[in-house]
Point group: C2
Chain length 375, copies 2
Amino acid sequence: MKVALLGHGVVGRGVDEIISSRAEGVEVARILELPDRLSDPRMTASFDEIVGDPAIELVIECMGGIEPAHTFIASSLKAGKSVVTSNKAVVAAHFGEFARLAAEHDASFLIEATCAGGIPWIASIEKVRRIDAISEFYGIMNGTTNYLVDTMAKTGREFDDVLREAQALGYAERNPTEDIDGIDVRNKTIIAASVAFGITCTQNLPVSGIRHLSKADMELFARHGRVVKLLGRGVQSNGRYAVAVEPVALPVRSLEANVPANFNLVSLEGSTVGPLKFYGQGAGSLPTGNAIVQDVLDFANGRRPHYDFTSALTYDPMLLVSNYVFRTTTAPEGSERYDGNSWLVRSVTAEHARAIYSYTLESDPDAFYAQLPWE
Amino acid sequence: MKVALLGHGVVGRGVDEIISSRAEGVEVARILELPDRLSDPRMTASFDEIVGDPAIELVIECMGGIEPAHTFIASSLKAGKSVVTSNKAVVAAHFGEFARLAAEHDASFLIEATCAGGIPWIASIEKVRRIDAISEFYGIMNGTTNYLVDTMAKTGREFDDVLREAQALGYAERNPTEDIDGIDVRNKTIIAASVAFGITCTQNLPVSGIRHLSKADMELFARHGRVVKLLGRGVQSNGRYAVAVEPVALPVRSLEANVPANFNLVSLEGSTVGPLKFYGQGAGSLPTGNAIVQDVLDFANGRRPHYDFTSALTYDPMLLVSNYVFRTTTAPEGSERYDGNSWLVRSVTAEHARAIYSYTLESDPDAFYAQLPWE
């Protein structure tokens, strides 16, 4: 089977290498690269050459970003070529369109590598759904932020200090916004909700990160036997669903609280199988390359995931109600003191908690908050 | 597709129900039951009727035990019928023979339900092996013993007390030997090693359980920041492999140490994907039934797992060397004091530690020991 690679960066090179060494019968025949980087006879700077080549069955997109990735994926599917991608931003933004194009043109669209790196997360959600309805999913889906909070917890250092070190080590981007403001987790949560619930997921969900998490916050929650982690989650019940991304103060003896370094831990709840959790490297060129090649091998072995986003679930924020702790100088309305300058707000939706936080930031730009799950 | 069920106990009934309600295109056409239990027109007491019925493509064995399960599985495969089984004892004892018969008669042999209940463990090992060599696997594979140690840890009660309660609640068998002496984990470890390493695994591995684990032992290891869990594990390197089942004193902040109640957590290490961990219900009629039906659906969708046990790995106990703590009245030879009446033996194989333990039990029938992993 002849495949084409779009992009030959770290991930693209990893995929190229794994395919040539481990994927018998699969050949990377063409590679799309920038005009000034055509260092290999398989390389071209023209996408048309690739999409116009009838020998290419499968296109592997590892460029990242929205455009031209969106145009290239859509054109490939329209040409009846199947697509494997690790690009969470473009899938979160256009999943519905890609799924429809794949169905219309009898092509497959495979996205294992968009979520939780080398963890077989998307394939497991699909497998569970063959038998079970999934009532809930949640998890640590961003390795960079887990590395930051885990290092803060273990060394007692400040956020900015640990972030600078992570940037120096290459664990965090020079511009860390996507990770520390929860945008990366937001995209993965939208994709997981789409697959788990069979919906075109709302783009308009509450999203908070850990930018303002301080050493003092870690100590505050530690006094209460808790560890802060950044979680994405989704729930469905009675024809409704809700999704959210926010810091959560988890009991110190929960599995999530003990996830080290840059690892991910993602969970789902199935009606007959019960809870399932999956742990592994959430990022990195080898785990991501591995997930891409697993999709390529699944396709080569005849797996044809078909995404049907027609289940008529209504987005209802009321499905995600919990208690929240706000660390800020002045008590939010209707709150009671939790500990020192932190305040407990009971039984509000993730959306409402996010609104309180936005309002709080106006007067206290360094304020932090976290969900306080019932045990 | 017409399938037959061998056995209609709790698991069999669950499988029957899940198939009829969730597995479109699959029909349970015949059910083997005891002559005095033929309560359903599909039921027969004659296995020959089932194996002789050309309409039956797949036989689902959920009787348990070695015989007649072994004969029925072998006869079904010889008749070219594929087999799904949840029977870990018969697979651990005859995996090589079943795999050979399946290959010779162009039948499939599916065993997801033999290990870790509803966790997609066997399928994940197979999937990882498409790309990676697996250097190591280990995990909590027995829900009953995890329930016992977790309850002891959380309530500070004695082993016998918690065991009696577990038996009353139906979490433990009236005869608990299979669970508390590690026999169930031994069978699962042999099966996992066979699939992960592509070998006919030795039947002669060191196996220890938690029968003599006391409240005082839990407190001893707690003082050292550790929790005892019963683990099965296997490693391979440079053409050699080793397997063992033994109690392990794990750091309190490891994921394994925080696995609650009767859950399982199984791990593997792949060359490109890195570490992967899978968590879920390790037993129970619904998770086990779920795993069986997942195998049935995989088969219906064309998955044909082929087990090749021809890789020439040599069994070498030297691959599993660690430190061990023995709680006993007299110090084992070459040991140093660990804490009170417990003794540290450094850098010995799992086999040698098991031998020391057997010798120790002769003079101190209540002695306990656990592996002390390097952190």
